[in-house]
Symmetry: D2
Amino acid sequence: MEPIKVTVIGGGSSYTPELLEGLLAEADVLSIKEIWMVDIPQGERKLQIMDALAKRMVKKSKHDIKIVSTLDRRAAIKGATYVITQIRVGQLEMRRHDEYISIKHGVIGQETTGAGGFMKALRTIPVILGICKEMEELAPDAWLLNFTNPAGIVTEAVLKHSTIKVVGLCNNPINYYKKFANTYDVAMDEVRINFIGINHLIWITGLYIKGKSHIQDVLTGKSASYEAANIPDFGWDHDFLQSLGAIPCGYHKYYYQTDTILQKQLLEYEKNETRADQVKKVEAELFELYQNPGLDKKPKALEQRGGAYYSEAAVRLIRDIHLNTQQVHTLNVRNNGAISCLPDDVCVEINCVVENHQITPLQTLEPPAQIRGLLQVVKAYEELTVEAAVTGDKGIAVQALTIHPLIPSAEKAKQILEEMLAVNEPYLNWQV
Amino acid sequence: MEPIKVTVIGGGSSYTPELLEGLLAEADVLSIKEIWMVDIPQGERKLQIMDALAKRMVKKSKHDIKIVSTLDRRAAIKGATYVITQIRVGQLEMRRHDEYISIKHGVIGQETTGAGGFMKALRTIPVILGICKEMEELAPDAWLLNFTNPAGIVTEAVLKHSTIKVVGLCNNPINYYKKFANTYDVAMDEVRINFIGINHLIWITGLYIKGKSHIQDVLTGKSASYEAANIPDFGWDHDFLQSLGAIPCGYHKYYYQTDTILQKQLLEYEKNETRADQVKKVEAELFELYQNPGLDKKPKALEQRGGAYYSEAAVRLIRDIHLNTQQVHTLNVRNNGAISCLPDDVCVEINCVVENHQITPLQTLEPPAQIRGLLQVVKAYEELTVEAAVTGDKGIAVQALTIHPLIPSAEKAKQILEEMLAVNEPYLNWQV
Amino acid sequence: MEPIKVTVIGGGSSYTPELLEGLLAEADVLSIKEIWMVDIPQGERKLQIMDALAKRMVKKSKHDIKIVSTLDRRAAIKGATYVITQIRVGQLEMRRHDEYISIKHGVIGQETTGAGGFMKALRTIPVILGICKEMEELAPDAWLLNFTNPAGIVTEAVLKHSTIKVVGLCNNPINYYKKFANTYDVAMDEVRINFIGINHLIWITGLYIKGKSHIQDVLTGKSASYEAANIPDFGWDHDFLQSLGAIPCGYHKYYYQTDTILQKQLLEYEKNETRADQVKKVEAELFELYQNPGLDKKPKALEQRGGAYYSEAAVRLIRDIHLNTQQVHTLNVRNNGAISCLPDDVCVEINCVVENHQITPLQTLEPPAQIRGLLQVVKAYEELTVEAAVTGDKGIAVQALTIHPLIPSAEKAKQILEEMLAVNEPYLNWQV
Amino acid sequence: MEPIKVTVIGGGSSYTPELLEGLLAEADVLSIKEIWMVDIPQGERKLQIMDALAKRMVKKSKHDIKIVSTLDRRAAIKGATYVITQIRVGQLEMRRHDEYISIKHGVIGQETTGAGGFMKALRTIPVILGICKEMEELAPDAWLLNFTNPAGIVTEAVLKHSTIKVVGLCNNPINYYKKFANTYDVAMDEVRINFIGINHLIWITGLYIKGKSHIQDVLTGKSASYEAANIPDFGWDHDFLQSLGAIPCGYHKYYYQTDTILQKQLLEYEKNETRADQVKKVEAELFELYQNPGLDKKPKALEQRGGAYYSEAAVRLIRDIHLNTQQVHTLNVRNNGAISCLPDDVCVEINCVVENHQITPLQTLEPPAQIRGLLQVVKAYEELTVEAAVTGDKGIAVQALTIHPLIPSAEKAKQILEEMLAVNEPYLNWQV
C-alpha cells in the first residue's frame, strides 16, 4: 500500500489530540507518512502547542510519521490523500453570539440547531468551499472528511458546489452503537440500527441485537437510549415515543421539549453561562494541559469536552475507505433517492456501505407522517441555508429562518438575522 | 335535463340564505326541483326559522321548487343529486373552547388553523363519514360538496375513507379573483391565478391579468392582495414577499406573523371577545332578522358574517359540474401527483378542470424550498389529524399537534390535547 | 387587440391552403395583419404557387391581410406573434428512403414511427433548433406552434434546447372528438376524452358523452374508434382491447399488429408503392390544382391528402392562446410530472388548459402496466433520439434504435442506421 | 447458536448434490441439525436416489446431520429455519414445450426470457404461493430462499402475495465476481461491481478492482466479461458496449442479438436439440452417476450442467443471513425505491446488505435512457405476468406477452399463449 498524507484543517482545535490518538493507532494499517496540521493566523498559538504535543505523541508511538504544522493551507492540501476539516470560523466568541442572540429573542440558542446553527453555517460554508476549490486544484482525488458543524448543511454545500468527494461525519451514530452494546452486553457489531434523517435530526426506526428487534425496550422505557452529555436531559415521555414509533436523537429535544429546554437556557443566559461559556473554560484548561512538556498522549480531561468517540468514528471511516472494506457506517451523503420523500440532491445522514471508490447509501423505508413532516421542513430550511450562504441573499436567509420550526415567525426571523449579521460582519461578504 | 334534488346538511346554518339565493338564481339552469334542508335536534329551532325564510324566498322567486326541512337525514339524502355539508359539530360553543384553550396555552386559537382547527376536525370527521356511509347506500352517484371546515382535512377524510365523489370548497380563491378584477378593473375571467397549496395554506405563484404577469405588483406592494375580513391585518413586509416569490394567503399570517397576531388574540381572550364570541353575537342578530316574516331575501347584514362570495363559489361549482363546462375552479381534491412533493392520496387545493364525471387537477410546478417545507409539514400534520380522527388514537393526535408549526413542543401538544378532549367528550367516541 | 403577424415556415407545403382557410376564417377574431410564408430555395417554385393562391384566397375573403412570401427566414420571423413550423427536411424523396430502408430490413417503414420517424427526427431537429435560435433573437415572445413530424420528438428537442415557448400539435386528438361526436350524434363539446401518452402513441383511458362513460362501447366493438385513413386498418381484436382497458390510437397498430402491417408494407415495397410514393402523386396533383388561376379556396382534393382537421385544430389552438380562453386542448408539452411514470423534462401529449401566458397539463392517473411499459420504452427511445440529433453521436443513435420495440436487435439497428446515414449525408453534420 | 433445520423443496433436483456439498462445508458454522428434502410423487424415484447419495455424503463428512426425504411437504416445512425452493413444475418435458412453441412462432425460446419464461412463471407461481401459505402456518419466521426460475418473477409473486420473508437468488452475479477476480488476478473480495436491473436483465454500471475503475477494459474489449455457458456467445460489438456505457449480462444477448440467436435456435429446433433436449440428456446421465453406491460427493459432471457456483452463492447467502454479517450480496428483493424509475413494490436484482433480520438494497443511481427504457418495459411485462399467474386472467396474459420486447405483436402473443395454455392445461386452474 502506498504511504499517505493526512491533512487536518483546523489543526489547532482542542479535539486534535483525540484525532491524533486514533490516527496513530491505525498508522500501520493506513501507511501514514505525513500528518499536516494547518490553521489560520489567529490560531497560530494553539497550533504551536498542538504541534509540540503531536510530535511528543508520535515519538512515543514509535511510528515514522512526519508532523508538519503550518499556516500555508495550499501546501498542506497539496497531494493529500485525506483532508479533514474541523474548523470553527469565528471561534468560540462567535458561537457565544449565536447562542446569546437566539436566547435573547426567546428561541433555542444552540451550536447546530436553529438560529445558532444557521449563523454558524453562513460563516463556515464560504471557508469550506474555499478549501474545496484548493483541493480541486491541488488534491483532486482526495477524500474530504467534514467534521465541521453544522455537518449536514456544510456537507450539502460541498455536494452542491464542488466536485470533490466528500463525506460528513458526526459522533452521534457511533454513540448509539456503544450505548446499546453496553446495555445489552454484546459486541458493537451485534448491534444493528436503522437510521433515517439528517445530521442532528435522525430517528432510529429499527434496533436489533443479534438479529432480534429491541426497539420496543427503548420506546417503553425498559432500556435507555444514548443521551449526549451536552444536551439537557429531562427524560422522555414514553407514551410519546410509542406513538412516534421511533427513537429520537438527542437534538430532537430542542423540537419536542422546546419550552423546558428554553427555560433552562434562559437561566444560563441570565448567569452568562451558556454552553459557549462552558466550552470556553474547558478549552482554556485543555490548552493548559496540552502545553505540559511531559504530556505525550490524549489527556483524560478531553473526554469531558463532548464529542465522545469522535476520533474512533473518524479513524474507522478513514480506515474503511482506505481498506475498501464495504463496512456499514452512518454518514452524511447525497440522498439520491435513498430517503424518497426528500430531494435527490440534498445531504442526508443514513447507513452507507463504505468503499474506496464510493460511499453508497442504503435504501430506507418511507417514514410515518410524524417523522416525514418534521424531516421535510427542517431539510427545506437547510437547503435555503446553503443557498443563502452561497449567494449572500438576505431574503433567502429570512425565508430559511422563517420556516425553521424553532423560529416562531418571519418577523422574529428578520430581527434575529439582522442582529446576527451585524456581529458576524467580519466573516461575511454580504451586501447587508 | 332531469330535475334535481339538492340536500343541504346543516340547513339551519346562518349561511343558508346566501346559498339559497345562489341556488334560486340558477334554479332554471340547474332544473332544481327540491331543496332539502336537514339539521340535528339541537338545531331544530334554527331550521324552522330557515324553513320559513326559504319558503318566502322561493315564493318571491316564482320558481316551482319544493322546500323540505327535516331532522331525518336519511330521507334528505335519499336520491339527492348534490349533497352540501355546512355543519358545525358542537356549534359555536365548542368553537369558543377551541379558541380559548389554545390561547390560554400561548398558541394561536383559530377555527381552522392550529390546535383549534385540529379539534374541530376531530369532532367533525366522524359525522361527515357517517353522512358518506348513508350516501353510499342512498345516493351513491351524488356529488358531495363539502364546505365544512377545516375543509381540506375533512375532505381528505372522505377521500381516504369513502367511495363517494367529493370536492371541498373554500371561498378564499374566489375572493382573490374578485379582488384582482377590481384592482385592475377587468372582468373576473381576465384574472388568472396559479395556486399551490392546501386549504387555508395556499400560495399564489402566478398572477396574470389579460395574459400579462402582475405578481410583482403585489410582491412589491404596488397592488394589494385580498385580505379576509376575519383575519387580523397588520400589512405585509414586502421584502419578505419578494424573497418568498409568491403571494401568501390570509391564513399564512398565523405562520409568518405569529407573535403579532397572538398578542392581539391574548387581548381578545382577556376581554372574552375572541372570534367565536363575535360570531355568536352576529349569528344571534342574523336569526333575529331571519324571523321577520317580511324578509324574503338574503339580508345585507349577512355579508358582514364572513364567508364572502361563498354562495357564488358554491353555486358556480354546482352549475359547472352539472353543465359539464370544463371551467377551471380552485378546489380541494385528491392530489394524485399534481403537487409532486406531497403524497398522492392527500387532499390539496389547486386549480382543477370541472366536468360532470370528474374533477381533474392541473399539474403544478415544483415550488421553491420556502414554500415546499411549510407545505409538507402542515400536510403531514393534516394526514395525522385524519388518522387520529378515524382511529381515535390519542398518541397519533399528540404526534399531529407536535409537528404543527404553531405548537412549540410535544409537551404543549399533550397538555392542549388533554384539555380539549375533556370538553369535547360528548362529541367523541375515544377511549380517553 | 393588437394586430398580429403569423409566420408559416414551410409555406410551400401542400397543407398551406388548409391552414390559410382556417386563419382567414378567424382573421377578425385574431386581428391578423400579416401572414408571412417562408421556404428554402429548393421549395421556391411551390412557394410561388402558394403565394399566388394565398393572395387569391385573401382577396376573396375581403380581409385586409398582407401576404408575404420569402426565402429570407430571418425577415419572416422578425416580430412574429406566432411561428408555425410545417417543414419536411429532405422532402418526400428522403421520406421514401426512410420507408424503403426500413422495410428492406424487415421492420415497419413509417413517417413517424420506428426507424423512419427516427431518421426524420435526425434530419429535422437541427433545422428546428436553428429556427428557435433566430426566434430567440428576433421574436423572443412569440409562440412556436410545431406541426412538423415526428411532432413529439421535435417538440421535445425545442423544450430541452431552447427558451422559446413551444407547443406541438397533432391532428389525431381532434379526429377522436369529431368521430365520437358523430357516432353519438352530439356536439363536439359534449365529447370528453382522457388521453395519456406521447405523440402517435396515445391511449384513451376515458370516453364520456354528456358526462356518461362510453369507453366500453368501443372496447367491446359496439362503437368504432377513429381510424386514420393513412394507417392500414385490419380491425381490432376486442378481447385485446378489453384487457388493455383503453382505446389505442391508430399508430398503436404498428406495435400491436406488426406482422400483418409489415406484410402489407412488403407488398407495397415490391410494387414501389409505399406511402411516400402515394403521397408524391397526390402532391403533384395538388400543385397542379393550386396553379389554376381560378382557384381561390382550398380544393376538395386536399382532404384526401391526410391530415384531416389539421387546420381546424391549429387555428383553434392559436385562437385559444390568443384569446386566453382556458379551453382544454390535447397538446405536446413538457411533462412536469403530469404523467408521473415519465421523466419531468420530456414531451408528452395530454389534455392541457390553454392560456395566453401558459399551457398547463392536467394531471393524469397512473396507467396500468400494459400501457406504462410500452409508453416508457418508446419515450426512452425518443429521449435518445433527441440526444443523438443534438450531439450527432452515432453510438447514441444505435442505442435509440436498439431499444425501439419495432427494431429486433442492436445488430439490425446498426445496419439500418448505417444505410440511413449514408443517404441522409447532405442533411447532417455528423462525423460518420 | 441454536441448531437449524434446512428444507429443500425440489429435493430430487439434479442440483441437489451441489447444494448439499455447500451446506456440508458450512455445517458447523450454521449448526445444521436436519436437512429435509421434499418432492412430488412424480419425482419420488429421483428423490430416493438423492436421499441415498445425501446420506453417503453426510456420512463421509462426519457431520451429525439427519437427512429426511419425504413427499409430505407440510412435515418438511414445519419448524424449518430456511426453506429453499428449486422446483421445476412440469419438469423438463414442459420446458421443452416452452422452447418449441416459442421457436415455432419465430420468437426466442428460452427457459426464463420471453415466452418460455412467461409460461414457466404461470406454472410455477401457484405452486410457490402454496408453499408460502404452508410456511405462513408452519414456519412463519423462516426465510424462503427462492432459486426457482424465472427467479425474479417468482420472487415478486411472493413479495406481493405472501407475508413470508423471501429473497431470490441467481448464480449470475457470483460468476461476474469469479470472472473478474480471475481476469485481474485478485481475491474475489477485491472485485466490486455496481449492478442495476432485474433477474436475467442486469447491467454492470461500475466495475472496480482494488478501488480503481476497470469498466472501460470490458467496454473496449480489453478484458472479457463473464459469459454463461448455456447462452450462445457470438461476441460483443464494442462500439455498442461503449455507447451503452454498461456491461450487459448474458441474457441481454436475447435482446441485443436477437436475430443471430434466433437463427441458431431454429437450427436446434429443426434437429430436435434445443436446450431442453440437451439438459434432458445431461440429467439422465447425472442420475445414472448419482445411483452409483460408491459416489459420496458431487460428481465433476454436474459442473457442466450449468448453474456454476450456484451452491457457493446459496450457501454464502444462508451463512451471511445466519451469521448476520452485513456482507453485500446481489439479490432479488423488493425495490422500495432503490431503482427509482421502477415501482416500489416490484422485485429487482441489486446489491444488498444482508442481515439476519432484514436484507436492505443499496440505492442505485438513475440509469441512462438506453438502460431505463428496456428495464422498464421488461419489468412491466413481469408485473403483468405475476398478475396473470395469480388471477388466471387470459387477457392480462396476452397484455404481458404483447409488451415483451421479444414478441413482435399482440396477434403473435395470442397465438403463442393459446398453444402454451393448451399443453400446460394439467398445471393450471385457468378458465380457458
